[in-house]
Symmetry: C3
Subunit: 230 residues, 3 copies
Amino acid sequence: MVHETVKLGKNVRLGDHVVIEEHVTIGDDSEIGHHTIIKKNTQIGNRVKIGDLTVLGKGTASNNKMARKPGKGGSPLIIEDDVVIGSGVVMYWDVQLKTGVFVGDLASIRENVTVGRDSIIGRNVMVENHTNIGNRVTIQTGCYITADMKIEDDVFIGPCCSTSNDKYMGMGHREYQGPMIKKGAKIGNNATLLPAVVIGQHAIIGAGAVITKDVPAGKTVVGNPGRVMK
Amino acid sequence: MVHETVKLGKNVRLGDHVVIEEHVTIGDDSEIGHHTIIKKNTQIGNRVKIGDLTVLGKGTASNNKMARKPGKGGSPLIIEDDVVIGSGVVMYWDVQLKTGVFVGDLASIRENVTVGRDSIIGRNVMVENHTNIGNRVTIQTGCYITADMKIEDDVFIGPCCSTSNDKYMGMGHREYQGPMIKKGAKIGNNATLLPAVVIGQHAIIGAGAVITKDVPAGKTVVGNPGRVMK
Amino acid sequence: MVHETVKLGKNVRLGDHVVIEEHVTIGDDSEIGHHTIIKKNTQIGNRVKIGDLTVLGKGTASNNKMARKPGKGGSPLIIEDDVVIGSGVVMYWDVQLKTGVFVGDLASIRENVTVGRDSIIGRNVMVENHTNIGNRVTIQTGCYITADMKIEDDVFIGPCCSTSNDKYMGMGHREYQGPMIKKGAKIGNNATLLPAVVIGQHAIIGAGAVITKDVPAGKTVVGNPGRVMK
């Protein structure tokens, strides 16, 4: 069901049973898969490919227990040219995907997130709100990117890495800060990053390492707790 | 396609292409997203919000190799008032979600599970069968909650934690026991809990810790293997 | 919408709003869930059960930054008799699922993968391309199986295990090699396997262990970094 206010460019291909809500725009030569849902106000560029069974532009939600209530969400989801999005993805409103971004199947990105040019968000990656991801970043399959995090350009994050942003673990102090990963750093698979740690430029984190404090630029850290290799 | 035996309350909003099977009931002021599927006998309360592309009330399945065959599944999925469920969720029959529960996108909960009042099951969390989750529990994004586990009230589990319930790792001894996490305990992100460990009341488990034995009440444990901090 | 070239066996049950593209074949007594999508050329055997909201036979995709471009994908997805596939699954073309395989909900398997007889791919498991999985293998919920990996018969992999295949972490050396797990080995939950490690026959890897080098047959390894237990 395509709402009458939707604006479609030239040569847009729509799959079966798509649902496109009011005031969505889709650029030229873009493809939307079967059973995919595009919520109101979403803006999609040219030559964008969206898979099947995907939701774009979802609003936020909460329950009684959540410390942070969702905002009003005035901003739409903006998907620039040449972006590729997989199947089974859940993407919120107030997200910006810059030109050439790739988002794998079954990934989800919450509100107030920007993903820079040509970056890769792997399959099954979960990105929380209020996080900024630079250009040419690779986040491999199954990573968890917490809220209030900053990932600079050219960072590589291996599969299944985990981050967190609340050192009081739900006690309600509300001083949230995710890790900061500086330009060109590389994180091995299944590494664990604690709240607010800073990973320096071109630092390397070993697979399975647990990072409890800042890592200087250019150093390699391995183990639990993580220690700088000599 | 809404079956003729379905009972809808007042002001229920149904998305496009919903499928609602026989003998489902939905209370007043509830919303069901686009392309969502509600299997037979599911009971949904008042002011419940269900996202898009979600399956509720799925039956169990198995293959030749599985040690535990699924039961007959006589009990329906019961969703109480004011529950919020995301998009892309797969929820089985014989599950009870108490008032005010939140279930994030792409999460899945198997049969014979109860989730207590106002608890949060984060995005992409997988909960296995025969597990009991208390009131006001937070289970953050990407956690794996094994079968035969008990989580008491006010527990906090950080992102990506992993649990297991079979110390013989598939050798077929069939003495399954998941961890027990007692009231108010807090588990850091990407921690690993072995089968049958007991985490005492208000204990704290560090991020990335590997818990191989019981943790006394009120203690903090970090490292691999986990050791009590002095 | 079922394409006119589709061949359905006897007693095939199709859910509501299924989409079946050209030249798909489905054997006798098979079931396809609601809103499920079967892409062109997919071959499905007899007595196969497919859940709801699942995509079968997806083509590959990439963006500018990806080192490995997807192939032409001439080969179809082949699903043999008695296979069971869950809901919310994303399965690519050029995959072979042998007789009796089980694939859990929200799992995804990429192209150029074979899964042997009666093996179990748990819920939310992600399998990358160019990987071979033997017979009677169990891969539990939430595991990440990287590309270029070989898993022999009767292996057991506990929940949330993580593997990787690129020791240069995205620097583009393009010498990819995933782990090899030999016959009958058992891997504990949330273990981390580095690129190209070989886990010997009937070896045991402890929960949370980080495996940085080869493990001899029959040995048990625990810790970070993993060490052989005496």
